[in-house]
């Protein structure tokens, strides 16, 4: 049976580098480079760096 085709986009999780456990979810093209952006973290109440979490498996 043929494998199901992978979607063109993937949902990724950007986690706060302030180590608060806060994260935001984005959708990016599968072939795109990993996302990273400055966003507001409500736990530390500051704008901090958010980096995309490494995806595991064959997602």
């Amino acid at each position: 049976m043929a494998k199901k085709a992978k979607s063109r986009t993937v949902a990724v999780r950007l986690i706060s580098m302030a180590m608060t456990g806060y994260f935001r979810t984005f959708v990016r093209p599968r072939a795109h480079r990993p996302l990273s952006m400055l966003k507001y973290d409500p736990v530390v109440k500051k704008q901090v760096l958010f980096l995309e979490q490494k995806r595991s498996g064959n997602k």
């Binding site: 180590m19 901090v48 760096l49």
Partner: protein, 198 residues
């Protein structure tokens, strides 16, 4: 002369006490009160002969309390009832049967509170409701928390146990945040970034 002055001061102090407390002290003079009685008030001594005249230092016969019999009559009624602590259960010497305290826990609490408010708590019998007893138990048993005390610790929730370490990690991360953002900007806003979190 000096003894009279001291005696009058004690009388005034006794008159300022609440009636239930005075009634109790007259009915159940504690060892502390009995030892102090011969100096200031001979009427309170149980070994002294019964005197019918009401001395001014007689704690039991205040003007407002007419129903209370004279102290001397009470004290000479029975030594076994007078010399025991009315705040504790009592075992009859001949029958061996236990009797509850003369004063219930609620009444003990009220008497101790009244005495403490008027600064005469040391004149009462030893009670579980006394301030000194409660302080002693507090020191011995702590705040009576489960698993709390010497050699034990409260387990708590996981978020409570890990809170300090997580806050420290967050603090360290925020200390390094400006440098990390500078590095991120220098590397083209993530284009050359290698350290992705797992």
């Amino acid at each position: 002369m000096a003894a009279e002055v001291v005696g009058s001061a004690l009388i005034n102090r006794a008159k300022s006490l609440p009636v239930p407390l005075v009634r109790f002290l007259a009915r159940w003079p504690s060892p502390a009160l009995q030892s102090a009685a011969p100096k200031s008030s001979p009427g309170l001594d149980s070994s002294s002969p019964a005197s019918t005249d009401s001395t001014p230092s007689d704690l039991g016969t205040s003007d407002t309390d007419a129903s209370t019999p004279p102290v001397s009559q009470i004290l000479t009624a029975s030594d076994t009832t007078v010399n025991r602590n009315p705040f504790e259960p009592w075992r009859h010497p001949s029958t061996g049967r236990w009797r509850p305290p003369v004063y219930s826990m609620r009444q003990q609490r009220e008497l101790c509170k009244m005495a403490a408010d008027h600064g005469v708590e040391e004149l009462l019998w030893a009670s579980k409701k006394a301030t000194w007893f409660k302080e002693k138990k507090l020191i011995e048993q702590g705040l009576r928390l489960r698993n709390a005390g010497p050699g034990k610790r409260v387990k708590g929730h996981k978020w409570e146990r890990t809170l300090s370490s997580r806050l420290e990690e967050r603090r360290q991360a925020m200390l390094g945040m400006p440098a990390m953002i500078e590095e991120w900007k220098r590397l083209g806003h993530g284009r050359g970034w290698k350290k992705w979190p797992k």
